[in-house]
């Protein structure tokens, strides 16, 4: 069960919003006062016209003042709507920014683990769901206390009996607020769960329609859908019958207060009753005034009831938002040393590197030792689960170093500023991320310091200019959402162009040829050879024929480098590597 505390916490992240909420309360209180004035004026007009027989021309000024008051009420409502939006804008702007920043600080591996779709949902829809709470519920909570008090006091000033009618119900107000709350919460939780479960069942059926077809069972399913809908209808109605009671009680109170006020005043006029008033004589004006106040006394509470669902919705959202914001960040890497100037070449030494996940339960690297010379092309091979990806993530700075040493040109990696270190790396993943826009935008990734010439050279070197007739046309090619207009091989060529454009001394490649047809494979190998010129290049691969191009091959197994050397040397050892090669050939022979 989430607590409202979470929402306070979110609001304290953004103190500016409080002022707008306060403004809404002030506007609401002024509107409450306007209602009292309006009731007084309306009562005065009817009294004057009916009892005193004043001609309407003499009442014109009252009509005009009343119109002004009504207009003012309208304007106040307008102001409340705008301030509510302002408060909610501030909050949502702040929360979105905080979420994005925090997610980036948590890093790409966290995001991948949580999946991007639900995270996007939290950033967008769930954050939107905060609106109703801050724009409506929060100010209404104060108004539901203040406005009835003001109205109650004005009633008391005229008649203590009518004041008492309101007052007797007043202590019930907090009680009813709780009741409304409980009712609405029940309505929200149970009813919503039931409905969403039913939608889920329907979705499940649609998703499994092909399977049902295959078993020739799909036609029977409509009876099942009907049955489950009926089941949920009955369940939901049982909840609603109780849940609607609380608002019915509030409705009843309003009605009873009006009725009691009317009957009390009527009897007083007829002089059957002679108490409860301060004035000697009860005028129609006073009576109508009191009668008009009766429904207004309860109105703020009823409004609160209608906004209650916003609270429940916001609480759910706040919980999700908080789960992300409360996620502890990995140790700070910003306040660390820089590599001296821009390094032209990179030398790597890894000594006794171990790494495990889930607090040591899932070991990934175990005492790994590896040296990579400046300008060398190293291929790392090994079965899946050998720890290749963990090693890559350590080098990229996406994972903190747990044990052992990684030296970059002699400097420990964990002392280096992360952003500065990442400036020295160009990375070509197996599934590069592309962004809706042109191919050129995707190569430069918006980096203004890359000139058009550099862009053309890089695109050409990566063979990415072959996707259209001319290089200019290639650069203008639309890649589509997440690059869905490009094939896997084309996407990888764009990522290679990125690497060329960045001109970094260290290149990291993940499965550069996996799943490609021959044509794409050859294009990529050609440009890889060019990219390797004068740079340190580390390449993870499954494909042994790809690995043979490298200067040296390191074979990983169970989180450590078990063999290294040239293809010929490793084959002659006739151990792990040779085993891998031969198992691949088995199918061929």
């Amino acid at each position: 069960m989430p607590t409202p505390h979470l929402l306070h916490q979110l609001q304290s992240l953004c103190p500016g919003s409080r002022r707008w909420v306060q403004l809404m309360v002030v506007l609401g209180v002024v509107a409450g006062v306007c209602i009292i004035i309006q009731a007084g004026l309306l009562a005065r007009i009817i009294h004057a016209a009916f009892i005193e027989k004043v001609p309407r021309e003499s009442l014109l000024s009252l009509f005009i003042i009343l119109t002004v008051v009504i207009t003012l009420r309208g304007l106040l409502a307008w102001g409340r709507e705008i301030s509510g939006q302002k408060a909610s804008s501030l909050i949502r702007r702040h929360i979105r920014a905080a979420l994005l920043e925090h997610l980036h600080a948590l890093g790409p591996l966290y995001v991948k683990g949580k999946q991007t779709a639900p995270l996007t949902n939290t950033l967008l829809e769930r954050t939107e769901a905060l609106h109703g709470y801050f724009a409506h519920y929060l100010p209404q909570k104060s108004l539901a206390l203040i406005v009835p008090i003001i109205i109650g006091l004005s009633a008391f000033r005229v008649s203590w009996v009518v004041g008492m009618i309101f007052l007797v119900t007043a202590p019930l107000i907090p009680l009813f607020m709780i009741m409304i709350g409980r009712g609405a919460e029940k309505l929200n939780q149970k009813n919503f769960t039931l409905l969403s479960r039913m939608s889920a069942h329907f979705l499940d059926t649609l998703q499994g329609l092909a399977t049902l077809k295959i078993f020739h069972r799909s036609a029977d399913e409509s009876a099942k859908i009907e049955k489950s809908s009926e089941h949920y209808r009955k369940g939901t109605m049982a909840v609603l019958r109780v849940a609607f009671l609380s608002s019915a009680v509030l409705e009843f109170l309003t009605s009873v207060a009006i009725a009691m006020t009317a009957v009390f005043l009527g009897l007083s006029y007829l002089q059957f009753l002679d108490f409860g008033l301060y004035q000697r004589e009860l005028t129609l004006q006073t009576g109508l005034f009191l009668l008009l106040l009766a429904p207004e006394f309860y109105q703020p509470l009823r409004d609160l009831g209608t906004h209650y669902h916003a609270r429940a919705e916001a609480l759910g959202a706040a919980q999700e938002i908080n789960t992300i914001l409360a996620e502890p960040l990995p140790e700070i890497k910003s306040a660390a040393s820089l590599l001296p100037a821009q390094q032209k070449s990179i030398r790597l030494e890894l000594a006794h590197v171990s790494h495990s996940f889930d607090k040591g339960r899932r070991p990934a690297l175990a005492d790994l030792n590896l040296h990579v010379k400046a300008g060398e092309w190293l291929a790392i091979v090994g079965a899946s689960g050998a720890g290749k990806t963990t090693l890559l993530n350590l080098l990229l700075g996406f994972l903190p170093l747990q044990q052992g040493k990684i030296l970059i040109n002699g400097q420990p990696l964990n002392n280096l500023n992360q952003t500065d270190w990442q400036r020295h790396i160009a990375w070509v993943p197996q599934h590069p991320a592309l962004f809706d826009g042109t191919l050129g935008d995707n190569v430069s990734l918006g980096d203004q310091s890359i000139t058009n010439d550099q862009l053309i050279t890089a695109t050409h070197a990566a063979q990415a200019d072959k996707m259209a007739a001319t290089i200019a046309q290639s650069l203008d090619l639309a890649v589509g959402e997440q690059g869905n207009q490009l094939s896997g091989g084309e996407a990888r060529r764009v990522a290679l162009a990125r690497a060329f454009a960045k001109n970094a001394p260290l290149i990291l490649l993940d499965e550069p040829t996996a799943g490609l047809d021959r044509e794409n494979e050859q294009l990529i190998m050609t440009s890889l050879k060019q990219l390797a010129q004068g740079r340190t290049l580390i390449m993870l691969t499954h494909r042994l024929d790809t690995a043979q191009i490298a200067d040296r091959i390191a074979v990983m197994a169970a989180g450590a480098v078990v063999e290294q050397g040239s293809h010929e040397k490793l084959m002659s050892r006739n151990d792990v590597y040779a085993g891998l090669v031969n198992s691949g050939r088995q199918v061929l022979t």
């Binding site: 309407r56 804008s89 209808r233 009843f252 009605s255 006029y269 991320a433």
Partner: protein
């Protein structure tokens, strides 16, 4: 609007509920108006009567005070009953809607449903239907109630003095029709822009989160984050604009309601003073009109909802009323034991696709033999499976089983002959027993266990606390990938069809599970005609023949050994497959 007719028709079977909900809605507002109006009149009348002793004693106090109490109770009870009835109606409509949609989509499935190939599509359908559910409660009911109130109050005022009724109607229509229309016009573009901006932001956020690693390494995250902030700023600005429009509408509603009561009063005062009617009715007129505007309050939201609902209705109708791609004869063909299959010169192109999915496919698969169709993804392998199961029909050429045309089998007959196990075999969010019974509704528990044993899943399920009553979870989430495939296999075993189509049944499984699964599978394929669709090299050596496909065409068709020695393409395919 006309998009809504089929859905309004769905309300017809529930007309009793609709009428009663409507009746109580009207009764509640009638009581609401009556309570304030009668109270106002009562005060006025008693106040005048109280001025003279005799009049006070003769005043009939009981009828009006009973009326006031009656209205008070009627309003409370009416509201409660109305809410219950309108929810009841909505839930009944919801049930009809789902059944209606399902009955329309079922004959088209799965082709029609997966035409758009978007995983989001199904989610959107469900959301759209949820939106349609509120047709009655949010749109139909409040509109009719507002109409009823307008007529009721107008008739009464007309009876007093037509000019008052006219004044009332003028303002009531302004608030009920003109204002919502105006705010709709003002807000339409902004509303659409908000939806677009939300969609843009969603797409870009997804891209950014998805590509966070790339953006980080290439130092582009800050730029992208900044761009998202700016897009968010645009969204907030648009929403603030919308709030101004909404606020304007609310302000006008308050003002129009107040001015309506004042105008009516202004018109009525000289009439009452001139003796056209009792002056005590002045309070009734003013209070009654103020209360009548309560019926207007839900209307702007209803009109807004109407836009959403008709958009949803249009999408749903486009999907539900699409032509059926495949029809089956009612009469079954003569049944036969021969399960040899011939694909003769097949061409097929998915509707709206730029090029053929498969062209000129010729294959003959002998009775009780096994075949593997391999090739890179997108080469048309799965299309062949879909043609054989008649999810689609070919544009050209034909398929025969045992010499009989595929189209001449009744649906039940074809389903009994051909079973499909694929990576997409769906595990329903139901018990394991229910999941199995789909294949054989009348199977006994012993039969289920037998099938599970053959699928090598019996030990696992026997170890679960609820055994066959274990809930499978959403999309089979309580099962591992391998377990879900074995469940699908057990289903196929229960059905025991003579022809098996296996569409990448091991996709997404790790090496070990893949090998174990294949082991189990082959042990169960004795005496079956089996077609494997695969892009891996796992089963190639175990099947009788291999069909190698590329770009929708058969490149080579022979045994694995023959292909290795004759086809360069095939060798490359095998060689480059990762170990």
């Amino acid at each position: 609007m006309k998009n809504l007719f089929p859905f309004l028709r769905l309300l017809w079977p529930h007309r009793d509920w609709v009428i009663w909900a409507f009746f109580f809605g009207c009764l509640t507002l009638f009581a609401s108006i009556g309570l304030l109006a009668l109270s106002g009149w009562f005060l006025s009348a008693t106040a005048v009567a109280g001025l003279g002793i005799a009049a006070a004693q003769n005043f009939n106090i009981f009828t009006p005070s009973a009326g006031i109490r009656g209205f008070a109770i009627m309003r409370t009870v009416g509201r409660y009953v109305e809410r219950l009835l309108s929810h009841e109606t909505t839930l009944r409509l919801l049930s009809s809607l789902r059944v209606w949609f399902y009955r329309h989509i079922e004959p088209q499935a799965p082709a029609g449903l997966y035409r758009h190939r978007s995983g989001d599509l199904l989610n959107r359908i469900v959301t759209d239907i949820d939106t349609l559910d509120s047709l009655f409660i949010r749109v139909v009911s409040p509109s009719f109630v507002a109409l009823f109130v307008a007529s009721l109050v107008s008739f009464f005022l007309w009876w007093l003095a037509p000019v008052i009724a006219l004044a009332f109607l003028l303002f009531y229509l302004t608030a009920g029709v003109l204002l919502p229309l105006l705010s709709h016009l003002l807000g339409q573009q902004t509303g659409a822009a908000i939806q677009r901006q939300l969609a843009t932001l969603r797409t870009n956020l997804l891209e950014d989160l998805h590509g966070m690693a790339d953006l980080t390494i290439y130092g582009a995250w800050q730029r992208h984050e900044q761009a998202r902030r700016e897009e968010n700023e645009v969204l907030l600005k648009l929403q603030e604009k919308m709030a101004r429009i909404r606020g304007f509408n609310n302000a006008m509603l308050t003002i129009v309601a107040g001015v309506a009561a004042l105008t009516a009063l202004y018109v009525a005062i000289p009439l009452a003073q001139g003796g056209a009617f009792d002056g005590a009715l002045l309070a009734l007129i003013a209070f009654g009109i103020l209360a009548a505007f309560e019926a207007i309050i839900p209307l702007p939201a209803a009109y807004q909802m109407l836009g959403k609902i008709s958009a949803a209705a249009q999408r749903i109708r486009t999907i539900a009323e699409a032509p059926v791609a495949v029809t089956f004869p009612q009469q079954p063909a003569e049944s036969r034991d021969d399960t040899s299959i011939i694909f003769g010169n097949l061409d097929f192109r998915y509707p709206g696709a730029g090029k053929d999915a498969v062209t000129g496919i010729n294959l003959d698969i002998g009775h009780q033999t096994s075949l593997a169709i391999v090739g890179p993804s997108g080469c048309g392998k799965t299309t062949l499976a879909h043609l054989l199961t008649r999810f689609w029909d070919p544009d050209q050429g034909e398929i025969t089983i045992g010499g009989e045309k595929l189209q001449s089998f009744s649906e039940g007959q074809l389903r009994r002959m051909v079973t499909l196990v694929s990576q997409k075999s769906h595990t329903f969010n139901a018990t394991l027993r229910d999941n199995l019974l789909i294949a054989a509704p009348k199977a006994t528990d012993d039969q289920l266990w037998e099938a599970l044993k053959r699928a090598q899943l019996a030990d696992f399920i026997a170890g679960l606390p609820h055994q066959l009553d274990t809930w499978a979870g959403e999309g089979g989430s309580r099962l591992s990938g391998g377990e879900a495939r074995r469940l699908a296999l057990a289903r196929a075993l229960l059905k025991d069809a003579p022809i098996w189509v296996l569409d990448e049944p091991t996709e997404g499984l790790d090496n070990l599970s893949r090998q174990q699964f294949n082991q189990t599978l082959f042990a169960n394929l004795q005496g079956k005609t089996a077609i494997f669709i695969t892009h891996t090299t796992d089963v190639l050596e175990r099947v009788d023949r291999v069909c190698f496909m590329k770009h929708g065409q058969v490149v080579a068709y022979a045994s694995h050994d023959e292909l290795i020695s004759t086809s360069e393409h095939y060798r490359h395919f095998i060689r480059t497959y990762p170990v």
